[in-house]
């Protein structure tokens, strides 16, 4: 079965609020994790990645947290905008840079 999964299939957030998208994984041997954003009719777009030896990484308006104890990572999006509406995937990377994607969370921003 899937080794990477998401807790919620959909999430609605008011514009300007912060969003938190969660992801659970089962394989402790993952080298690192990547968050992708996929808009309708487009391919996945890289957002941010985090190495397995890190707990936190920040980008522009995004923060990824990794909790290896409970095998959980989250993507926080600050001050959400209408353009943030999309499906978000977490993916784990193991040997040979092979990506294994989760099922995705659809984020809807309410104006």
């Amino acid at each position: 079965g899937e080794s990477v999964g998401l807790h919620l299939p959909t999430l609605s957030v008011q514009e300007g609020d912060n969003s938190i998208i969660n992801c659970a994984y089962s394989n402790s041997a993952s080298d690192y994790f990547i968050w992708y954003k996929q808009e309708s009719g487009k391919g996945p777009q890289f957002i941010i990645d985090i190495r397995s030896n890190m707990d936190k990484r920040q980008g522009q308006r995004v923060t990824v947290l990794l909790n290896k104890t409970v095998k959980h990572l989250s993507l926080q999006i600050a001050a959400t905008q209408p353009g943030d509406s999309a499906v978000y995937f977490c993916a784990e990377v193991r040997g040979n840079e092979k990506l294994t994607f989760g099922t995705g969370t659809r984020l809807t921003i309410i104006p």
Binding site: G41, K42, F46, D49, A91, N96, E97, K98
Partner: protein, 117 residues
């Protein structure tokens, strides 16, 4: 810089027919990937090329799917014969370096949406 190009964008066929998808990766990218994305799921890797050689095709249903990258640039993915469960978006991605270069540098095309009736 131009992105990964794919065609056609949409294709509707009947089961047992054949279909082919085309991908043109970003110029100079040595590694090319084909993924299958079923509605409501994340992409699943089908095959990975390094130049014109296959690196990983362990998840490619070889009884009906085939792919080639003859000159190490463009690639085609073929399904023959198609089944209903093949309905999905087929994504192509490429990376700048050779196999082992960071997955974070994978650039995805827009995909081809296949509907099998």
């Amino acid at each position: 810089e131009a992105g990964v190009a794919q065609s056609p964008r949409y294709k509707i066929i009947e089961k047992r027919q054949s279909v082919a998808f085309w991908c043109n990766p970003i110029s100079g990218h040595a590694t090319l990937y084909w993924y299958q994305q079923i509605l409501g799921q994340g992409p699943k890797l089908l095959i990975q090329f390094q130049n014109n050689g296959v690196v990983d095709d362990s998840q490619l249903p070889k009884d009906r799917f085939s792919a080639e990258r003859l000159k190490g640039v463009d690639s085609t993915l073929k399904i023959q014969p198609a089944k209903l469960e093949d309905s999905a978006v087929y994504l192509c991605a490429s990376t700048p370096g050779y196999a082992g270069t960071g997955a974070s540098e994978q650039f995805f095309g827009p995909g081809t949406r296949l509907t099998v009736l």
